[in-house]
């Protein structure tokens, strides 16, 4: 009777009255209606912005792997891989995919310019670096239109000033 479990705390149920007993009964009832995992899950009804009709043999829903962080972490940094990152970033907007692609691009030293909505990567160490900006040659991923058509490609911009207040 010198410590926690013992008679040094007088019995409570006798003295607690209706509310504790009532609460326990309600808790018992709630116990049989525990929230289920599916009560928190939301169907990921992915609605393509510009749905294209494809043959039924094509996958009609997104492969789950595109929402798996490990997939994006292992994608690599060769041109094809980087293009996939840019594809996810620009064409799967407001999805977990876009979030993961942006995170991976940053890991590969790309930086998002909020004014040009374009990702830049230092081609060489910048010639000038101040608190407000850096200037030098950068690779950037851009959509360009020329007489022989249009498309995405990586280009080099020399003598570019990246002002840090545009850095996301």
């Amino acid at each position: 009777d010198l410590g926690a479990i013992g008679d040094n705390l007088t019995g409570t149920s006798a003295s607690s009255g209706h509310d504790q007993l009532y609460n326990l009964q309600m808790l018992e009832a709630a116990f049989h209606r525990l929230p289920q995992p599916k009560d928190s899950e939301r169907a990921k009804n992915y609605v393509p912005r510009h749905p294209a009709v494809t043959p039924a043999s094509y996958p009609q829903i997104q492969a789950p792997i595109v929402s798996n962080p490990t997939f994006w972490e292992r994608i690599g940094s060769d041109t094809l891989a980087t293009d996939m990152l840019f594809f996810a970033f620009y064409y799967q907007q407001n999805t977990y995919q876009q979030y993961l692609a942006a995170r991976e691009l940053k890991k590969q030293s790309w930086r998002f310019h909020r004014r040009y909505n374009t990702w830049f990567q230092r081609h060489v160490e910048p010639q000038v670096t101040t608190d407000e900006y850096e200037r030098g040659s950068y690779v950037y991923f851009d959509f360009h239109v020329t007489e022989d058509g249009s498309g995405w490609c990586q280009r080099i911009k020399n003598d570019f000033t990246f002002e840090y207040n545009y850095l996301e």
Binding site: L34, P35, P37, S40, E41, R42, K44, S67, F89, Q93, N94, Y96, Q98, Y99, A102, F112, R114, N117, E168
Partner: protein, 44 residues
């Protein structure tokens, strides 16, 4: 004597925050579905 708290399904030595995958107080399973993520408005 309490419970062995390592049996509650939480990796207490994890270097990452546990809340990101905390599924529910009633289960040992980590959360399913996309963990919480925030996309800056300038990405749209």
């Amino acid at each position: 004597l309490g419970i062995d708290l390592t049996t509650l399904g939480l990796n207490l030595n994890s270097p990452d925050n546990l809340y990101k995958t905390f599924g529910s107080p009633w289960s040992n399973e980590p959360a399913k579905g996309d963990p919480d993520f925030h996309i800056p408005a300038c990405y749209f």
